[in-house]
Structures are given as structure tokens and as C-alpha cells.
Symmetry: C2
Subunit: 249 residues, 2 copies
């Protein structure tokens, strides 16, 4: 079996924004699905892990796009494991067109936890470190690795939202994809008429639960670059995100 | 080509609720996709209609489920045209498992509009009434047709929400699928722990736009039956919905 998985998706009409381009949240969802398809086919997917009380937990996701697929376009998400360490693995993505066109790339970092203790566990303990057989070291992912999103205390509270039934995933936590949507909802349609998302980055820090209020603190950190801290009801930081835009005409 | 289209979908992890069952909004989206795949393959899909300044507009959708597909389950959405009239066509759905299992059914009513004047147009004008070649009169869809959702003036305002970037579709209107999510968000997790959605019905009356506030008026119309009226900022009614629950243990 190929070390790189390649999965076809469609930019469905109701998954596209007012400009006819795929929403970033749905692209993120496709990447998470591709990760799951790839790992499942190779013996270390979520469904198998559930049977041994283990689970992958997404720690970081960065997506950098030249262009977003347009409504009704078929595109591929390619994914592969770039490296694995005891407590973290890094998985990359390429978003490509049927004709070899490159839309963009993604990078993600995952931990593995024990679903009973919620503590990190040794990734190499799964099938004698079998994940090492799937590492691809020679495929390029030419976007920045990212890292800790630095924010000052000067970040401003710009919105607080309630969370509802549709925000909650099978673990009872606020759905990772919904955070992406809530962050990008901080800008209005007028902004998106003149700005495309160049790079979207999110680090998942702590879980929020159904009924939690989420507060969004925003800081303008560079020209067309914004950082956002999401804080749940009890004041704990849940996520930190960085969004970079490019101006479009 | 078969008059009935059959499309396979997967109950993706991030499309499932806290109980591991597919969200109704995502099932609705799959039905709308199936409708689009079916009509496109038979010459009267959205993509073709756009080229002649026509568009299908969803007027009503009713979904009645025995059971919702569970996380990671593959299921089919079958769809067919039940009848066509000059200004409305009715399209049905069956949600089935790979083993012939029946999860539930759907019914929808569509109008066709001129995208320039936004006025209804004659469905039979497309390719000399070609839609008549695709009518299936002998396939059962054993759920109620529904009809006008009756509500009194006693309906109570229970929530008002803002609409954001991710709520808006390619036409600049609030996305039909998002209305389903917003309605079902009126009940909390505790409710869904003891109640499954037996039937969901929505009628789209007028469009709302980015930035509109949506107010939800709810009326308890029968045992485990609730009606919801959604009203936009200027007081115009946008949607009316009826949700019937069954108790689960």
C-alpha cells in the first residue's frame, strides 16, 4: 500500500461561501477525514483505536491556500505522515486538482490519548511502532510549520457566543471544525469581498463543552494578520488561532 | 439511465452528534446533493440551469427517520421525481443501508425561478418538458406529505441569533442547511439524551441575508411536537418548521 493516501472530494454547493469557493471549515473537515481514511487503511485509525481505548487528538492544524476549490470542483486531499515521535506525530496534506493543479497544503500535529484517563500515551505502543513504516520523508510540504501563536495581553474581546447541540462532537466536546467556522465568522462579508484567507492556523489547547460560552479575543499582529484566542466560560483558553489574509480585487 | 438515482454517503465523524448519530442538517445536505447529482445527470441540474439563468429553489423539505446512520456507517440516499407541475415539482428520498435496511424517507418540493427576475418560471419549458420523462409513480415514500405548518399568534420568542459569514450561501442568502441546524439548536443536549427526532419539516418562505438577525418563535403544538417560525430583522417570516420527537430510553 502506498504511504501517501489520496482521496477525492467535491466542493459541494452548500459547502461554498458567497463567492462560490469552498469554506475553510469544510476543507478542514475533508483533511480530517482524509487523515482518518489514511490511518484506518493502515491499521492505526480512530475506529480501531476506540477498541483499545485510544484516540487521536488533533493538536494543531495549519492550512495555506493559493486558491480555494470552486463550487462543483472535484479535488484531492493527499495525506501522509511526515514524522512520528513518542507523543506526537505530524501529518501533512496537499490539496490538488484532477489535472495536478496545486490548491494548497496543510500541516497537522496529533497526540494519542488513553480515552479513560485522557492522558497522552505512547504512539509507538500501537502494533510495535508500526506507524514508523508509513513515514514519508521525501515529499515536500512547502508551507511554514507554524508554532506557538504569540499574543499579548492587549488582545480585545470582540465576541462571545453560546454553544449549542450542533457544536458538539461525539466526545461531548466542541467540534474541532466548528471552532474554525466560529473564528472565521469574526469577519463579515464585506471583508471577505476584498480578502482571501491565505493561511489559517489553529492550536487546540483545552476542550469546551456543550453550553459553554466562547469568548473571542482578537489582536491585529501584522498587516493582514490577526490572532484570536478562544476562552470558555470558566476563563480557560481553549484554542488559539492565527489568520493571514491577502487582498483581492 | 435509471429514473431513480442512488448515491452513497458516509456518516463522517465530525458530522455526528454527541450520541454518534448523523446530524439532521448533514443528512439534509446529503439529500440536497443527491437531488443535484440526480438532476444534473438527467439534464436539469443546477449547473446547467445557471447557464440559462434558471435555478431550482427548495420550497419544502420533510425528513422522517426510523433511525439515524451511526458514525462511520455507509448509507445510500435514493432520490426520484414523484411528480412535476408547471411551477412545482416534488422529489422524494429514501435513506437505505448497504444491506437494504431502511433508515427513513424524505419529501421535498421545488420551484424553478428566473435568476434575474427572481420570479417563478415554467418547469416544462426546460428541454420541452423533459422532466416528465423521469417521473416515478410506482415507488413508495411512506411518510406524510406535510403541508402548511399551522401556528397561532401564541408562539413564544425563545431565541434571536446573529448570522455570519458561514451562514451565507453562494446566492448571498442564509444557507438552507444552516436553518435546519439553527432550529435544532433550540433544544439542548439534555433533551437529545432522551429524545430522537422522528420527523423534521421545514418550509422556506422568504430569504434572509448576511447580517440579518433571526428570531425563533416556538409553539408546543402537540405531545412532543413543536413548531418554529423564523423571522428576519425586518419582521418578515423566512421559514416555518415542525419537529416531532420520540422518547428514547
Amino acid at each position: 500500500m502506498d504511504k501517501i493516501g489520496k482521496y477525492e472530494f467535491l466542493a459541494e454547493p452548500f459547502h461554498c461561501d458567497f463567492s462560490g469557493r469552498l469554506f475553510m471549515g469544510h476543507l478542514g473537515n475533508h483533511m480530517l477525514n482524509a487523515a482518518d481514511f489514511h490511518s484506518s487503511a493502515r491499521g492505526f485509525g480512530m475506529k480501531y483505536l476506540m477498541t483499545i481505548n485510544r484516540s487521536w487528538v488533533l493538536s494543531r492544524l495549519a492550512i495555506e491556500m493559493e486558491e480555494m476549490p470552486q463550487q462543483y470542483t472535484k479535488f484531492n486531499v493527499e495525506t501522509w505522515v511526515e514524522s512520528a515521535m513518542r507523543y506526537f506525530t505530524s501529518r501533512n496534506f496537499a490539496v490538488t486538482g484532477v489535472d495536478g493543479k496545486v490548491y494548497g497544503y496543510g500541516r497537522s500535529i496529533w497526540a494519542m490519548i488513553d480515552t479513560e484517563t485522557r492522558q497522552p500515551t505512547d504512539i509507538f505502543s500501537i502494533d510495535n511502532g508500526a506507524i514508523n513504516d508509513w513515514i514519508v520523508s521525501d515529499k515536500d510540504c512547502p508551507i511554514d510549520k507554524g508554532g506557538r501563536v504569540k499574543m499579548s495581553d492587549g488582545a480585545e474581546l470582540i465576541r462571545t457566543i453560546d454553544t449549542f447541540y450542533n457544536d458538539v462532537d461525539i466526545n461531548g466536546h466542541i467540534n474541532s471544525v466548528k471552532y474554525i467556522e466560529h473564528v472565521l465568522d469574526l469577519w463579515d462579508l464585506d471583508w471577505y469581498r476584498t480578502h482571501a484567507i491565505k493561511r489559517f492556523e489553529i492550536a487546540y489547547v483545552a476542550e469546551a463543552h456543550a453550553g459553554d460560552k466562547l469568548s473571542f479575543y482578537q489582536e491585529h499582529t501584522a498587516d493582514d494578520e490577526y490572532c484570536v484566542r478562544i476562552v470558555r466560560t470558566d476563563g480557560t483558553e481553549c484554542c488559539r488561532s492565527k489568520v493571514t489574509f491577502t487582498k483581492i480585487s
